[in-house]
Subunit: 235 residues, 2 copies
Amino acid sequence: MDNLEFDHHISRRYNDELNELRNHVLLMGGLVQEQLRKAIDAVVTGDSELGLKVAHDDYKVNDMEVKIDEECSNILVRRAPAAMDLRLIVAVIKTITDLERIGDEAEKIGFLASRLAAMEQPKDNYRELRNLGLHVLRMLEDTLNTLSELDVEKARQVILEDERVDEEYDAINRQCLTFMMEDPASIKRVMNITWAARALERIGDHAKNICEYVIYLVLGKDIRHTEDPDILSTQ
Amino acid sequence: MDNLEFDHHISRRYNDELNELRNHVLLMGGLVQEQLRKAIDAVVTGDSELGLKVAHDDYKVNDMEVKIDEECSNILVRRAPAAMDLRLIVAVIKTITDLERIGDEAEKIGFLASRLAAMEQPKDNYRELRNLGLHVLRMLEDTLNTLSELDVEKARQVILEDERVDEEYDAINRQCLTFMMEDPASIKRVMNITWAARALERIGDHAKNICEYVIYLVLGKDIRHTEDPDILSTQ
């Protein structure tokens, strides 16, 4: 995140605390991104061991959430922040909840990868699922950049991108329905694919949430649940 | 919530603000509960109109979230709360996020009810789905009581209850798989049932989250992501 905005305190120590906090959130984001990348890899390559490793490593994400939460409470108590500083703390409290949930979804995908690895690998190596996964991974990457640069314009783009992720998810769902109807023997396997697609779709939602917090942080307005075209427009 | 704990401020106005805040959270919880109850009804009775009404009314839940969020920010800025008061504010910020997500899941169930109403109604009137729905509804009710009474013991019970909800959800999933394999013509309908069951299972997760915040609020310890039997035990 842009250091300038938070470098205005007379207390050098307070500045450091806010900067550290932001760095910790970005580190947590990086870890979550890595977990998602591995989970997608595990599905596509049919690597059961990698899938289980992702699931096992979820505790690292959880630990980071608890620590950052404590950091926020400490700053609130000792510094009684106001205005943009306060919005930063509130945005961080919300952001790490969504990052933790993204971690949970990556964990689920890890388990599903390990189950799918024990079944017949399809000829297309889960092409559609892989495409959706890469799309969501890119969205998460953009979200972390948005968070790092406090870039409202980028945040708006990610929010709009979520609609395309939803469309892709709907298409996979329709395809899965067709597969199951044409070949009832595939139902068990295909159901696992729909769960994985669902987890990816939810990660898109969480990324969108985080971008909404960034806009709230920078502009001081809450754009959640709004359809106001002015707020979402790129103008 | 028990008024005694938050009635210790010299400023009468500050006491009032904290009490109002807690009342608003409980009102939001009541609305969400009502939405869930209607959504389950809509599925079981095949009432498409009621399902769509639930989906349409979700904006009311969202509006309450935004307003309570602002209330929290205002109190943080003007009162710089510490200790238990601060934990209350942080717990409220997190709680309303989960309540809002429960509202989203109820909205989804509303849409699914309207789709299912257009399909053949099964002889058992979705008995299993109804049972899971009532189970989750009871869990949500207990969660709101936990929140109202700040009852750590009740919070622990709800957290343990979530495991039973998960088991019930798994059983429905297995049953749905069997249905689809035995009767591929039912796949479309049964998929809608699995989505509804999934939404109910997620509501259980959100209720559990809220109970964890209550324990954090009262005891000042973060029990998320812990398997520590002492913390979760009923002793």
